[in-house]
Symmetry: C2
Subunit: 177 residues, 2 copies
């Protein structure tokens, strides 16, 4: 799920089903309208349990919490693959910023914290084997801080990278205990 925004080259082999989609906007409460696009932010995601945390340096330059809904967390903890229907793995990405406050208090330049939401603030992958059969059974989504979904071209770049980890049901993040 990481790098959806980063891999901008759309290496797509999904057929033409996405051609006629109209991106949702605003609160992202639109209905899902295609085989790989999820246009609704899963309600309550900010209350979900932690899968792990990560830092993406380089152009992304974010720090992120990877979360899962109850179905996903249960599967993670039990080591069950593939993930069951209804599992959702999400991540929140904030800008990666040095904490001047912390560094001053501790007398060292070493504390990095979460700043403002990034351009691809929220990303989710939703398991629905039938609906998203063309992309490994997962639908992908990405939203900015205002809830606006990323455009179609960006979203078609998800699966080509996730394909590389088919052995873990296409999910990058491992659950860390």
């Amino acid at each position: 799920m990481k790098r959806i925004a980063f891999v901008m080259v759309a290496v797509v082999a999904l057929g033409g089903a996405i051609a006629s989609m109209t991106p949702a906007s605003g609160q992202a409460n639109g209905e899902d309208a295609g085989p790989i696009f999820v246009k609704v932010i899963p309600p309550g995601y900010r209350d979900w349990k932690v899968v792990s945390v990560a830092h993406e340096a380089g152009d992304l330059n974010d720090i992120r919490a990877v979360l899962g809904n109850d179905i996903a967390i249960k599967a993670y903890r039990e080591g069950k693959l593939p993930f069951p229907e209804g599992a959702i793995v999400g991540r929140i990405a904030w800008s990666y910023v040095a904490s001047e406050e912390n560094n001053k208090i501790f007398g060292r330049e070493q504390s990095f914290v979460a700043g403002s939401p990034t351009d691809t603030y929220l990303q989710f992958m939703v398991k629905d084997s039938k609906k998203y059969a063309a992309t490994g059974g997962w639908g992908y989504s990405s939203f900015d801080k205002d809830g606006k979904p990323s455009d179609e071209a960006a979203m078609t770049s998800c699966f080509p990278c996730h394909q590389a980890i088919k052995g873990r049901d296409f999910v990058f993040s491992r659950y860390t205990r």
Copy 2:
């Protein structure tokens, strides 16, 4: 709460009440026995909601999830200070490791993920204004991956740093939306 292990110089002004403590060990199910020491890992902490995430570079070299129990999260979200009695803010710290897997897939050296538990894997600060009056109303705790609490000298180093952020009720981490 960050840096409890790092600031090893015990700048203590807590009186002699901690002198006779015996560190607990093993599963850390011992009773709390002093004014600044919490020796029981709060049950269910791994299910708590996310306050924020951070990376401590340098000697700590960790990546961490800061979590809160329901009382703490409610206060954070409502912007209420001081935190109410019973609030617990915790953090899980994993070693900060480059993800060769991710980097290979994405063709760039920029992905850092959570590895194994650090020496101060779990840390919590527990709000009890009476019990922990000498340390700003918070009791501090730190545990390794086996649930063994950090030793007394290390724990006395918590409050001197937390004192610097009295204006936010001694809690370093801000809630990130």
